[in-house]
């Protein structure tokens, strides 16, 4: 069976955007079959008109690969109405049905809205807020340093940080605005506002492209060549650390541990590994200085 891996740049909250893109892919003969942290895998087959639906299920978690009884019941209800479960990512579930299936998976917009808010607040928005605060704190701590001794490399580093703040800030603000607009629309007897737009996708693509360009440009801005090489090495090591921690998470998820045990082991392993890495780096640098 032929498959195609696609790097999907998407916002977890933009369910309509994800649905539209999956429908378009199906029309081109690409059918989603697996979601990983780095790419989405599609089965290549004859083009079909399908209807994908994205929902959020508060009971599922990224620390648990097994479906709970509640989730299995949800899936069974969906199956009864011609919806087939495709994949899930944390609390996001993706279903597919024939394009002519008239019954929507979710028919009560108010209830759908409350469910999305409950699912997002629990993890996604909280995590985005934490990332944003960390970036803002590091940016504010470095600004005075840049003002005192401006150089190209520090300027590029700060630009990367600023773009990341812009990206995560935009996700947060867009979500809050979507909540406000949807609340207003529902109160006035209207429907849930569609989430995601071509403009936000273009914004995300631009920010990603700029960050990648700046990350690659950064080592060239160092006056000393060895500093640039060191930067590349650190960059590769960080990527390696991220890959290892993801592999570890996938491994422990197969061991049928309880969700909280998986969460604990994942964070324990990741932080211990990072700490050992930092100690090792500090030791090596102190040896050379």
């Amino acid at each position: 069976m032929k498959t195609k891996k696609i790097f999907m740049l998407f916002r977890y909250t933009n369910f309509k955007d994800i649905e539209d893109r999956l429908n378009d892919y199906a029309k081109k003969g690409l059918f989603l079959q697996k979601i990983t942290k780095y790419y989405w895998e599609f089965k290549v087959d004859e083009p079909k008109d399908l209807k994908y639906t994205v929902t959020y299920f508060s009971d599922s978690s990224m620390y648990d690969s097994n479906k709970t009884e509640n989730q299995l019941t949800y899936i069974e209800y969906a199956n009864e109405y011609g919806y087939e479960f495709v994949e899930q990512l944390d609390k996001m579930q993706i279903f597919v049905t024939d394009a002519d299936n008239q019954i929507m998976l979710e028919t009560d917009d108010r209830e759908k809205f409350e469910n999305i808010k409950a699912c997002m607040g629990k993890s996604y928005i909280r995590n985005i807020s934490i990332i944003l605060i960390v970036f803002l704190l590091s940016l504010s701590s470095q600004i005075s340093y840049v003002l005192n001794s401006p150089d190209t490399s520090t300027f590029i580093s700060l630009s990367i940080m600023s773009l990341a703040i812009l990206y995560y800030g935009n996700i947060l603000v867009s979500y809050i605005l979507w909540c406000k607009r949807s609340e207003k629309s529902l109160q006035n007897g209207g429907v849930l506002i569609s989430s995601g737009s071509k403009l936000s996708r273009l914004f995300d693509k631009t920010i990603y492209a700029l960050i990648i360009a700046l990350v690659l440009l950064l080592p060239l801005s160092y006056s000393d060549l060895s500093e640039g090489v060191t930067y590349y090495l650190i960059f590769i090591q960080v990527i390696f650390l991220l890959l290892i921690s993801t592999k570890f998470l996938n491994y422990i998820k197969t061991k049928n541990f309880k969700r909280n045990t998986v969460r604990f082991l994942y964070y324990f392993f990741t932080y211990t590994f990072m700490l050992l890495y930092l100690i090792g780096m500090t030791y090596t640098i102190s040896k050379f200085i």
Partner: protein, 106 residues
């Protein structure tokens, strides 16, 4: 929180509670609602699951039987009260409408 959520019931909420005046399993509810309303109100499976969960959590319904993954429910006294309140609200809307149409405000 629960009081706010149930201040006015959506059509799906109303019909699910109404169906559960008799013990009924999840999937059968959608079929009954469909028949009762001649297809005017459709309860999607996702909405059905989420509403049953919410109603159960807020003690508007109770789970009466579990056979495999087939769960049956029945409305509670609290749920009946909520349903009656919504019915009375709708009746008062109807009566206000009639009053207005018959020149009752003049």
């Amino acid at each position: 929180m629960a009081r706010d959520k149930y201040q006015t019931l959506t059509e799906q909420m109303f019909y699910i509670l109404l169906c559960l005046e008799n013990e009924c399993c999840g999937i059968d509810i959608t079929k009954t609602v469909n028949e009762l309303t001649n297809g005017r109100v459709i309860v999607g499976p996702g909405t059905l699951y989420n509403l049953l969960e919410a109603f159960q959590k807020d003690k508007m319904i109770v789970e009466t039987k579990v056979e495999g993954r087939k769960r049956s429910y029945l409305i509670t006294e609290q749920g009946k009260e909520l349903l009656k309140k919504e019915y009375e609200r709708l009746i008062s809307l109807k009566s206000d409408y009639e009053k207005f149409q018959n020149g009752g405000l003049v």
